[in-house]
Amino acid sequence: MLSRTAESLYWLARYVERAEYLARTIEATLRATALPDAYVGKSNEWESALLTAGIDDIFYKFHEEANERTVVDFLSFSLDNPSSIRNCIENARLNSRSVRTALTSEMWDTINGAWIELHAAWPKGAKTREDLTKFLRFVQETSLRFDGSAYRTMLRNDAYWFSRLGLHLERADNTARILDVKYHVLLPEEEHVGGPLDYYQWTSILRSVSALTAYHWVYRETLKPWLIADLLILNESLPRSLASCYGNLVRNLDQIGVAYGRQGAAQRHARGVRNRLEHAHMDDLFQRGLHEFIQEFIADNARLGDTISKQYLI
């Protein structure tokens, strides 16, 4: 297939995944800020939402203060923020248009329909909190539909695999970023363990990756920081964990390698990252430094993106 087609499919999936993740982050932050200070501390949750999205630099070019109004608008609707949900949907549609021939009609319908709805229902952003909640739901449903229609209707060929690569790479990045911003609340010695502050911070981490229920199913325990880290980093059964994303990345890259009859740097690099995750233990990670580990992972993940680009997309 055309390199440009593969690239658009890959980015299309990334944008849709990113939009969903941003919607989840906003939702989790709204919940956290609704609690009294005694439960969440004085930390500015909106600031940390900016940090997880990795757009704090550009935010402060346009706003002085990170509060609910400014951050929600910047993350959701702002045209100044290249990764706002609105821009993600716009970009997803641009990419879809340029590769219409590679999409199934269900996928196109989902993206084009969402784009039409976005312009019809939220031309100027959300007016009330209720409206915002509706918007966030709409974004998550769009992502679910898109993912579902891709899963159900696409041929299992390189077009599918490249779009999955985009999805898993973006997902791994998102999970890692949450951990990176919140790693200090996962560090047992820094705060009084088990206090209400930690508890709600942890809940909010799990909510933002939609893993609160999963946690209870897997561990059947009260929330414990090392178990949360274990779930999000090493547990392959959680679809948003780093380990699960890399299992999928390795598999999709292998499928491409087999179809094309050759492997390359991308395959090798993905396998390397997966092997490190497979052989890691939570105790070691905490010992060696969770923050350093996650930082390294984010860099490795970005490097995989570059390698895939060089090998296939340019």
Partner: protein
């Protein structure tokens, strides 16, 4: 202006036979049911994303072309004649182009003045003496036809560069069949859905002689911001070929390749929807980023076929148009089956003075204009507009032609106040391959939605209709 011929209710209001069933059906169908279907059709168009881009409008850069649910119907007999005329005309166009870029018999015979060709900006000296596979220049032609009475069809314009609109012909039919299955059950409508197959066959048949195995065909688009981008992606999809942009292609050793995830792949035939000027920055406009550096040298080397060929613009130039009857006679020795609209060449002093004296009754067009821009419709213009145009005409007479205002035929159309006659034209698409010329029975009917308006261009607010050829 004379009262226009109505295609359904002929002269004196006598129902014409091709519309018999439709008229019965319209009587049975309540107006609100029609309106409901119209809205449904619009929703379908929007969801499928059948849009065209409008240049220079910041707000709504993608617009729907209004779709009218009342089909335009032609009888099998009318079509047979038209089809013959179209094939004849396109054959002559191809022979003319071959001649102009080779021996130039028609110039030596003094049928067309030399300067009309050599001083024409769309004439491509790069193509002098250049052979193209099987001598086909215009692989895809869109011939605009208007009707003035029950007998007479006139060719209004020959589109021999990159004619668009065929996706509407196909999608209009799909949507009509979805919305009005009962109406189709009552008619025998000739199918158009084989158009993409015919097009692909035509394109493959003109592959360069250096093609090794199965020729690889690609469709070259300027990209998603082009007004006809939807059509490009639609056609690539139906043809099952890659939709490429300039940046996807690369020329090496005079061969064209596309960049794929598995490396470079040779391309043999390019159905290009990019104009000559933007094809290759090394040969044409150096500032263009739409094209492919080196494409022309691969073309000249005979390693890639471009459809339509480079330089076909000289055949659909509005000044050359006026010579089409002579061109048909010269190359085929036949009388043209399809008539030309009587045309005044403002470059000729006698014609110019007539045109200047009768501006208020004439349509004056720029020789190189398209899309309904840069024209004067005398009867619908103000005095000031006419005077302004007179100045333009005097300054550069050779840039204009003029035609009498035709009473274009009308066809019943849904309007805010019920069914009403609106002016229509028709663009059938003629395909030329190695050994044959084909036309699928139908075309794009464009309709002027404003009462009395003669402007059917989509860029000027015109709409479209499904076109039925009865068997």
């Amino acid at each position: 202006m004379a009262v226009a011929f109505d295609e359904m209710n002929g002269p004196g209001g006598a129902l014409r036979s091709a519309y018999h069933e439709l008229s019965l059906w319209l009587k049975e169908t309540p107006p609100d049911a029609l309106e409901y279907r119209r809205q449904e059709a619009e929703l379908l168009f929007r969801r499928i994303g059948i849009t065209f881009a409008v240049y220079g409008e910041a707000e709504s850069t993608e617009r729907l072309i209004p779709f009218d649910v009342i089909p335009r119907i032609l009888s099998g007999k009318e079509w047979t004649t038209m089809e013959k005329g179209l094939k004849q005309r396109v054959k002559a166009l191809n022979m003319f182009l071959s001649d102009i870029y080779h021996s130039r018999d028609i110039l030596r015979a003094k049928i067309i003045p030399d300067d009309l060709i050599f001083q024409n900006p769309v004439f491509r000296p790069e193509m002098n003496g250049q052979d193209v596979p099987h001598d086909v220049y215009v692989h895809i032609a869109g011939i605009d036809i208007v009707r003035v009475d029950s007998e007479n069809f006139y060719v209004l314009e020959d589109n021999a560069r990159t004619p668009s609109g065929v996706s509407y012909m196909l999608e209009n039919r799909e949507i009509m069949m979805r919305l009005f299955p009962d109406l189709f059950a009552r008619h025998r409508v000739a199918p158009v859905e084989n158009y993409p197959d015919e097009l692909l066959a035509a394109l493959r048949s003109v592959a360069p002689l250096t093609s090794k195995a199965e020729p690889t065909v690609a469709l070259l688009t300027p990209g998603i911001y082009n007004s006809a981008y939807y059509e490009h992606s639609f056609l690539a999809d139906k043809l099952g070929v890659e939709l490429v942009e300039g940046r996807d292609l690369i020329v090496k050793n005079d061969e064209v390749f596309m960049r794929t995830t598995e490396g470079l792949k040779r391309v043999d035939v390019i159905y290009r929807r990019v104009d000559d000027d933007f094809l290759d920055p090394l040969t044409f406009r150096p500032d263009s980023v739409l094209g492919v550096p080196g494409l022309m040298s691969a073309y000249i080397a005979g390693n890639v076929t471009l459809a339509n060929a480079v330089g076909t613009g000289i055949a659909d130039d509005k000044a050359v148009y006026s010579y089409m009857p002579d061109i048909v006679k010269f190359y085929l020795g036949e009388e043209p089956i399809l008539k030309n609209v009587p045309t005044y060449r403002c470059r000729e002093p006698k014609d110019l003075s007539y045109v200047l004296d009768n501006l208020k009754d004439l349509v004056v067009k720029e020789v190189h204009g398209s899309g309904g821009y840069g024209m004067l419709i005398g009867p619908a213009s103000t005095k000031d507009a006419i005077e302004a145009f007179r100045a333009k005409l005097l300054k550069e007479p050779e840039g204009f032609i003029a035609q009498p205002t035709l009473a274009l035929s009308t066809c019943p159309t849904c309007t805010a106040s019920g069914l009403a006659p609106r002016h229509v034209d028709l663009r059938p698409f003629v395909l030329t391959g190695k050994n044959h010329v084909t036309v699928v029975p139908g075309g794009l009917t464009r309709v002027a939605l404003k009462e009395g308006s003669l402007v059917v261009n989509s860029s000027q607010g015109g709409g479209t209709k499904d076109t039925w050829i009865l068997e």
